[in-house]
Symmetry: C2
Subunit: 306 residues, 2 copies
């Protein structure tokens, strides 16, 4: 399957009605996942804080994990080493475990699980992995879904512009520096990882307003700020809109943003995800490299297991 | 005061015996702070998870904040806009509030507080801001303090090497890309912010093992990976040591690290902080710019309040 179709499949993925079966009670949530499988948990963590949510991405789980913890292990392949480590520890602590996977070792586990299609790359399955969180915790509705579909249409209608931005970026050989914003600064991190995996380009992400306390001191005085291309992955609002405007003035650079879409949190998040997906896809195309290929990661996993 | 003395003052700062007065009971901890005042909270979050810890760095606090929350507001100046916003919200929810500041509006607040010296820049007060967390939650002992002082001695003895690394970095005009590691990946973020504020250089930080799922796909194939200088801010152990070794093989670059110090978590964290402080200080010196100056941040604050 061509990689473009993987990205376009988001239109179908967002219709997924899957939900986690919630335990009778829980005091906190821990989501365990890495890379493309961690993103859904990180976005959910941005959006939901009725109880504490921690994303564990490494060989560790929080000390507080116990029988009052809803522990959600997310691994697209079902074989992620760090996630298998995490679920073993969560079992020892009698956490209430749920699994989100497309196969592998996790699919043989006894815990309640959501199975998603294994057709696409993990990073292209963001809809399948994020929707269960949004559905389960009351962040979706019929109306939100309608607006979400409208927002996606706007982005796909913008495709030629995005393609031109990507081509200019590659031609200029600049390094993407992406600023994330509330309500989901994680989206900038998503763009960064998509630049890494799709475009095979090193990229950097940061957060507004936090960047007003550090990056802003560097940009106007950097050894060569002209070698960076500045992006904003999201729509600034309220005080952060003032901060964004002033940050551009002081840095002396324009920060390129996605088209303004005032459709509410969830549609805006998906619109920004897809903008980044298309941008990084067309950057790969402009470089004449395969956006699907992540042979360095495969090679690393092979060397680790030998 | 010369900025070098601010960095060297860490030797005195770590002897600070300040502690927060703990409430009788609390179920979770929220730390509110930005920039140099957020780092202590982020490091503490890496190290402590007996109860959930969230660091709120922006105009928000978690929905779960209530009378069972220990809410710690950290602002060196005492006037940080986002932190003042956070403490107002925490009061509305009847959280149990503590303050860590050197003055400003926060010093007039009635809540129990720790006052620290306002002599240094916020980022140079990391010892004053981190020690209360370590003291209060049982992460320090006499023996740890002794080892910490030994670890600092090793780093300061290494100063000429660090200076040479900084000079080469500036001469090469490369962009620092710093990998953080457990137990405190935040240290790489600290280096990044120090490059921003001290050296006025854009820098990028990432985390191992997470970078094995994204950055590693980019480094060998980037448009120009030779324009980056790779650092490791910490000492890799166990499975992450294998990952680090293989990551270097696959990327084709050596990742420069701090000298190996096997002195335990807290001493190693401070050693790595000071390595980054000296590296970014000498990078500023090599560029012939003032490491103390952060006029862009001052200008931004002025424009925001006008």
């Amino acid at each position: 399957m061509r990689f473009y179709e993987e990205i376009a499949s988001i239109r179908e993925q967002v219709k997924s009605g899957s939900s986690f079966e919630l335990p009778d009670s829980y005091r906190n949530i821990v989501i365990c996942g890495m890379g493309g499988s961690a993103i859904a948990g990180l976005i959910f963590q941005d959006l939901f804080s009725k109880v504490p949510v921690t994303v564990a991405n490494g060989y560790w789980i929080p000390d507080y994990v116990d029988e009052n913890t809803l522990f959600i292990a997310v691994s697209h392949s079902g074989n992620t080493e760090e996630t298998l480590y995490g679920i073993d520890r969560a079992r020892e602590r009698n956490a209430q475990i749920r699994i989100l996977t497309s196969g592998g070792k996790l699919s043989d586990f006894n815990e309640k699980k959501i199975m998603i299609p294994g057709t696409f790359q993990p990073r292209s399955s963001i809809g399948y992995m994020l929707m269960p969180f949004l559905n389960t915790f009351g962040l979706m509705s019929e109306k939100t879904l309608e607006k979400l579909e409208d927002a996606l249409t706007i982005i796909f209608n913008h495709e030629n512009t995005i393609k031109a931005v990507a081509e200019n970026l590659v031609k200029s050989r600049k390094i993407p520096l992406i600023f994330g914003l509330p309500p989901s600064p994680t989206i900038a991190y998503r763009w960064k990882t998509q630049f890494n995996e799709n475009s095979k380009m090193i990229a950097h992400s940061a957060i507004l307003p936090e960047m007003n306390h550090n990056e802003i001191a560097a940009i106007p005085h950097d050894l060569d700020p002209g070698r960076f291309e500045f992006f904003v992955a999201g729509t600034a609002k309220g005080r952060n809109l003032d901060r964004l405007r002033i940050s551009q003035e002081i840095s002396g650079f324009e920060f390129h943003g996605i088209p303004e879409i005032d459709y509410g949190t969830i549609p805006e998040i998906f619109a920004s995800i897809v903008y980044g997906d298309l941008l990084t896809y067309y950057a790969a195309v402009a470089r004449d490299i395969d956006p699907r290929d992540v042979s360095a990661i495969t090679e690393l996993k092979k060397k680790l297991s030998s």
